[in-house]
């Protein structure tokens, strides 16, 4: 039995999630046992877990059922089981917005937050603040003030963080707690101090003067908490940025002084703040870069990572400053942490000399398959930057990129590569052919429609002007027969461009279809209005293709002295995005099921099949169907108006909705209704 279960589990690939097949209704049914006395904490705990699980899975709870479950849960407050009580707090927070009357637990939570059990106090505060609105906040204000200055750190922190959440909702009430927050800010506990600073800042952040005063105060008095220091650094650099104060400001001095803090986190924060400042002089940058350099050789991977990531970011802006770290970065190339190694190499690519490019690229290709897409994108971006800097390196790069293109990878990564290749092609004409060849290879097996169409477009643009345009046609043609509509459409457009460019293009090696289509386009092109037609191929298609086909067909069957008139072709009735489906019918013989000509084309065809209508000429326009009967009647009749140059055709579609009766011998007797008399 157990074995069987295991197997089933494996098959569904679920691992061992005991909650996988939970039914909301069953769980809510179970929740009724909350009403039983005595309480069974273990069972209740399990059911609460299920409810929270369902809520977090996004299961929708109706107000009534949620309220019922919530009130049942409130009864669990009679149990003194600690785990169960804390689970109740969690449930309250989760259900605060879906159940009605959640304020019912206000007194119970207030009692817990002021009670003797310290494990209850913090979580009770957090839950209480979730169910409290501005009007109710007044009632608990006294307790909040007391909790903020409570000597138990978890209580004080909970109160401070909850206050911070409530600033958004009840700024005016929370503002009155500033004195308590000030007191908490001098706490010995690093978290309490940090949270107090956070609250103080958020209460004042719209008042620049108050923020400045606060910064002055704390930068002078000093803080115990490294977290608080980091926050001060962020506040200070934001203020510097906003006020556009010069770097002779005391705020800058403060940040710089933090470079000498005992705590690495603070030092890093300060360095990062400085290197990200706009308009830093080399002299100002130097101390910050040198601490980052120091971190590069730290035994702690997190520090090395932080340092190299920051250096990587600033390498473009301040290459010379980062060059100072080249030696340390070189050491990181072989770092066992691939993320660090990647960042080191790409930083060096940005700052290093042209001569080192080959070596670095070789190094990175040795492990590029082991790093995540996110870092691969970093590599591609570095290559892209490098190609702009050292255009002569494009062949090395192109080779590297083509290898990357063949690897597995997600859309963002592939797009980065394709964009990079395209930009290289655009900037270096001599790289065009290799680049296009790589891209051709890529679209042979490309799952990203966006990229395939983009490349086909590029091929249509660049291919015809290459010395050997025929090389690309095979690749494009493969797309026509194998891909989804969007890609096929792009492929056909690309082909048309080849046709438009080279009248004498040899299609002999292609099969009938492409030849037909090519001929079709050639045909279009050979008509007298060459300029117009070419424009129409290059600039996208504004006419209905089946319509055009039909008109041309008519024209060839019935030769006349008059030149073919493009204006007689009905305009495409579908928006541009759907043109792809209109272009497709050209490949009629192979893909009939995927064709979707416009509505009007269908009508035209249907009407042409009726002998009486043959002399009417091209269909000018068909109306939307108009329902003439109610939807539920026995016979549904709708009418479509077809307008020709000199005629009007009314099409009545009659549908019999009864399956036991036959509809026969219908006549339509249209009457011209008199102009209604005025009442």
């Amino acid at each position: 039995m157990i074995k069987k279960f295991d197997k089933k589990d494996e098959e569904s690939g679920s691992g061992s999630n005991p909650f996988q097949h939970l039914e909301k209704s069953a769980v809510l049914q179970e929740a009724r046992i909350f009403n039983e006395t005595p309480i069974n904490p273990r069972r209740c705990l399990h059911i609460l877990t299920k409810i929270i699980y369902l809520l977090n899975q996004g299961e929708h709870f109706g107000t009534t059922e949620a309220t019922e479950a919530f009130f049942a849960m409130t009864r669990l407050f009679q149990s003194n089981d600690q785990t169960l009580r804390r689970m109740c707090y969690l449930t309250i927070k989760e259900m605060a917005n879906i159940s009605e009357d959640v304020i019912i637990v206000t007194s119970s939570l207030t009692k817990d937050m002021t009670g003797k059990e310290d494990v209850y106090r913090g979580p009770a505060i957090r839950a209480l603040c979730r169910i409290t609105d501005t009007t109710m906040l007044q009632a608990i204000e006294r307790y909040m003030k007391q909790a903020i200055v409570d000597k138990v750190p978890s209580v004080s922190s909970s109160a401070l963080v909850s206050s911070l959440h409530m600033v958004k909702m009840s700024y005016d009430v929370v503002k009155r707690w500033v004195n308590e927050a000030q007191e908490a800010a001098s706490s010995d506990n690093i978290m309490v101090q940090y949270h107090a600073l956070g609250l103080l800042y958020h209460l004042r952040k719209n008042d620049r003067l108050a923020v400045t005063k606060m910064l002055n105060k704390f930068t002078k008095s000093g803080l115990k908490s490294p977290f608080a220091y980091c926050m001060l650094i962020r506040i200070a650099s934001k203020l510097l940025d906003e006020t556009e104060a010069g770097h002779d400001s005391p705020l800058f001095d403060f940040i710089e002084s933090c470079l000498r803090n005992k705590n690495e986190m603070v030092v890093y924060e300060a360095a990062s703040a400085i290197v990200h400042m706009p308009n830093c002089t080399a002299r100002e940058l130097a101390p910050a870069v040198s601490v980052l350099q120091l971190f590069c050789s730290s035994p702690k991977a997190a520090l090395r990572y932080a340092a190299v990531r920051t250096l990587n970011k600033v390498a473009m802006k301040h290459p010379s400053a980062v060059t100072a770290c080249n030696l340390d970065l070189e050491n990181l190339i072989t770092d066992s942490n691939r993320s660090i190694a990647t960042l080191a190499i790409t930083t060096l690519l940005k700052t290093g000399s042209e001569s080192s490019v080959d070596r670095l690229m070789k190094q990175i290709s040795s492990f590029v398959s082991e790093i995540s897409d996110e870092f691969k994108v970093v590599v591609v971006q570095a290559i892209s930057a490098l190609c702009q800097k050292y255009p002569r390196k494009h062949s090395v790069m192109m080779n590297f990129l083509s290898n990357m293109l063949r690897d597995d990878g997600g859309f963002d990564y592939k797009r980065a590569i394709v964009d990079c290749i395209i930009s290289i092609i655009e900037e270096n004409p001599e790289s065009k052919e290799t680049g296009l060849a790589h891209l051709c290879e890529f679209i042979e097996d490309c799952e990203h429609t966006v990229l395939a169409t983009k490349i086909l477009h590029l091929l249509g643009k660049e291919g015809p002007r290459t010395p050997q345009p025929s090389k690309y046609i095979r690749f494009i043609f493969n797309r026509v027969v194998l891909e989804s509509e969007a890609v096929r459409a792009a492929a056909v457009s690309a082909l048309a461009k080849f046709g438009a460019q080279n009248d004498d293009l040899c299609f002999a090696f292609l099969d009938d279809e492409v030849r037909d289509r090519a001929t079709f386009y050639m045909n279009v092109l050979q008509q007298k209005q060459k300029a117009l037609n070419a424009a129409y191929i290059f600039n996208g298609l504004s006419v209905s293709i089946p319509g055009l086909e039909k008109s041309l067909h008519q024209y060839t069957l019935d030769p006349s002295e008059k030149p073919f008139d493009m204006k007689s072709v009905p305009l495409a009735t579908t928006p541009i995005t759907e043109q792809k489906t209109e272009i497709a019918p050209v490949a009629t013989s192979k893909l009939p099921e995927k064709l979707a000509p416009s509505r009007q084309d269908i009508y035209q065809e249907q009407l042409a099949a009726v002998p009486e209508f043959q002399g009417l000429g091209p269909l000018f326009k068909s109306s939307e169907p108009v329902q003439l009967t109610e939807a539920e009647t026995e016979y549904v009749v709708r009418c479509i108006k077809h307008t020709f140059a000199r005629h009007m055709v009314f099409q009545f579609d009659c549908t019999n909705t009864l399956n036991d009766q036959l509809l026969q011998k219908l006549t339509a007797s249209p009457t011209v209704s008199p102009v209604p008399a005025t009442l």
Partner: protein, 210 residues
């Protein structure tokens, strides 16, 4: 749990748990009363208006009471009914010095008695005519008249004068409640002996008979 408790548990003497709902208008003294009934080391020093409810537990000689002390403020009174179903007894507290709102108290009481979860149940109801110490307070007889308690025919009920601040009158009421609950239990469990009930009922009659 002490050894004695365990022993009494084995002997079937473990204290029965009863859920009691404490209702009444705001400021009538519900929380103060419940606080007085708790063991002195767990009593609150300061009583504030209740928002929602509080759960308190205390023991009498033979029962373990779990009291849901509800909020009496107007906007929270509609939340009482969520707790009707699972309660075994009701304590209804009246501020006997609040003549003005006696009609409001009566109205709430009538709504309660007519509620579908209460109507057909033989719940014992204990009334406290609280704040007896105040000069202008009414007697329990007067209070029971104003609330028309004599119309309650299908439930055992009892009214006591009380001073929640000093704790006077509370024990008397609790003793009555304990007896009733026991009775109710024996009845529902199908016991034959009715002596206690008869006695208590006559006592009820006696208390009502003013």
């Amino acid at each position: 749990m002490g050894l004695l408790d365990k022993l009494s548990g084995w002997l079937g003497l473990r204290k029965k748990e009863v859920n009691v709902l404490c209702l009444g208008l705001d400021n009538s003294g519900k929380t103060t009363i419940i606080n007085q009934l708790k063991p002195s080391n767990t009593q609150e020093q300061e009583i504030v208006p209740t928002i929602g409810f509080n759960i308190e537990k205390f023991k009498s000689s033979s029962l373990l009471f779990t009291v849901f002390d509800m909020s009496g403020q107007n906007r929270y009174r509609n939340l009482w009914e969520h707790y009707y179903k699972e309660s075994h007894a009701i304590i209804f507290v009246v501020d006997s010095s609040d003549k003005l709102r006696m009609v409001v108290a009566k109205e709430e009481l009538d709504t309660l008695l007519n509620h579908e979860d209460i109507r057909c149940k033989k719940l014992p109801m204990l009334f406290f005519a609280n704040k007896m110490d105040l000069q202008d307070s009414m007697s329990s007889i007067r209070v029971s008249q104003m609330l028309c308690l004599e119309n309650i025919k299908d439930k055992p009920w009892h009214i006591c004068d009380s001073n929640a601040i000093k704790g006077e009158g509370l024990q008397e009421g609790l003793d009555w409640l304990q007896g009733e609950v026991f009775n109710n239990k024996t009845v529902t469990l199908g016991y034959k002996g009715r002596e206690g009930q008869v006695k208590l009922c006559s006592e009820c009659q006696f208390t009502h008979a003013y």
